[in-house]
Amino acid sequence: MSDREASPREKGKLALYWAASCGGCDINTLGINEKILDVAAAFDIVLWPVAIDAKVRSIEKMADKSIDLCFFNGAIRTSEQEYMARLLRQKSKVLVAFGSCAHEGCIPALANMNSREEIFQTAYHDTPSTDNPKGIRPQTETEVPEGTLYLPFFYDTVKTLDQCVEVEYYLPGCPPEPERIWDAIVAILEGKLPPPGSVIGANTTVCDECPRTRTEKKIKEFKRTWEIIPDPEICLLEQGIVCCGIATRAGCGANCPTVGSPCIGCYGPNEGVEDFGARMMSALASVIDSEDPEEIDRIIREGIPDPIGSFYRFSLANSHLRRKVLAQDGKE
């Protein structure tokens, strides 16, 4: 495995691609440091725009299923991204939804609270620094003196990778920690994977990794993170701070609670949970210490003024409802 000389076994082909993403998954992939050489010993990397100069055309020319493994990060929200998802699905034997965006939509999926029209209106007209007297908007086709310039079609709704193509595995995290990425690569190379369709990850929640002490949860009030300086030893939820660790799959080592911040749920739901937000709602409702409907209502409204941000920060695209009702003028 760590033999860096030419292996008698033929090298496989590896592709890494990013759709609507931030590049963090790629940076954490580089974060395996010198182990990248082990990856290079096992694979020819045929696509990786952050690091390698291969172009889309070279992928289009490859035979179907000739790429052994594809790590696809990023959500799908334009036609170009869906085109690439389909292309890489066609050319790849194993397609991994890499990171939260591909797995459940992640932060880009918060745009499912809006429509294309609303986003364009804000970005190209309404922000105070935009100077656009002619009301220009990006177009899928623009005629310039020299020819035509094309831009991809921007969807109303952000999709996960598996809402576009079939996916063999999911690697959760925003981004997955380098240690988990390396674990997944080793599992793939050694053939020790769960059944197709699985998430490659732990089967427990962040609470199991969290160093804080937990006793009993009875919340009289939810606190906004800027309202208190929490005790560094005690469970954050017990102190009234909404911490998503209770619903979130483990794997990160509970980094955020370790430095005093609540878990925000970036590894997605634990095994067996269909809708992360529903799980959070259920769990938080269970620990509210009140039986008076009006008091309960007040505790929730004042402590959680942004439930989408609190509960669906990463998982909106593959929640049951997926998006807010689409504004009528968002439809063509």
Partner: protein, 165 residues
């Protein structure tokens, strides 16, 4: 706005001990009420995970009715309070999705309250009929624009000049 042919499909989660018996009572009492609620029996209203409600809506329900024992009368002592808190949390969140309040309802009904339950059902069905079908999966339905756009990309790639490696 309301479609005269539209009949709401409402999913009901009724607890075994009180509200399901109330529905039985309404039946044996021959009380007529609108047949739009598909009842699923759970042991306790506290069993109702918000996931059930969201899934029902996503799969095509126009509304969801949760029914349980009155506060203080839960067969399992306090779990209907959990249902109440979960329901409050759910309603708070659903507001942000743009789903009308009337589509989700929490109704307390003791085993003796067949008539009251029937009336609550009628009320809810009327309200949802007025609101119209939810048809939630239409929110992300595509009318063919995506296919056309993807074809265009393939054409655009084919149009560009070949450059040797």
């Amino acid at each position: 706005m309301s479609n005269n042919d539209f009949e709401p499909r409402i999913i009901g989660f009724f607890c075994n001990w009180c509200s399901y018996r109330a529905a039985d009572l309404a039946g044996t009492s021959r009380i007529k009420y609108q047949p739009n609620v598909r009842i699923i029996r759970v042991m306790c209203s506290g069993r109702v995970d918000p996931t059930f409600v969201l899934k029902a809506l996503a799969l095509g329900a126009d509304g969801v009715l949760i029914a349980g024992c009155h506060p203080g009368e839960c067969h399992y002592l306090e779990q209907n309070y959990k249902a109440m808190r979960r329901y409050t949390m759910l309603k708070h969140t659903l507001r942000f999705f743009g789903i009308e309040e009337e589509r989700i309802r929490l109704q307390w009904a003791s085993a003796a309250e067949g008539a009251q339950l029937a009336q609550a059902i009628n009320e809810m069905v009327d309200q949802v009929r007025e609101l119209g079908p939810l048809n939630w999966s239409a929110q992300w339905a595509d009318n063919g624009q995506i296919e056309t756009a993807i074809e265009r990309i393939a054409e655009e790639h084919a149009e560009a000049m070949e450059v040797p490696a």
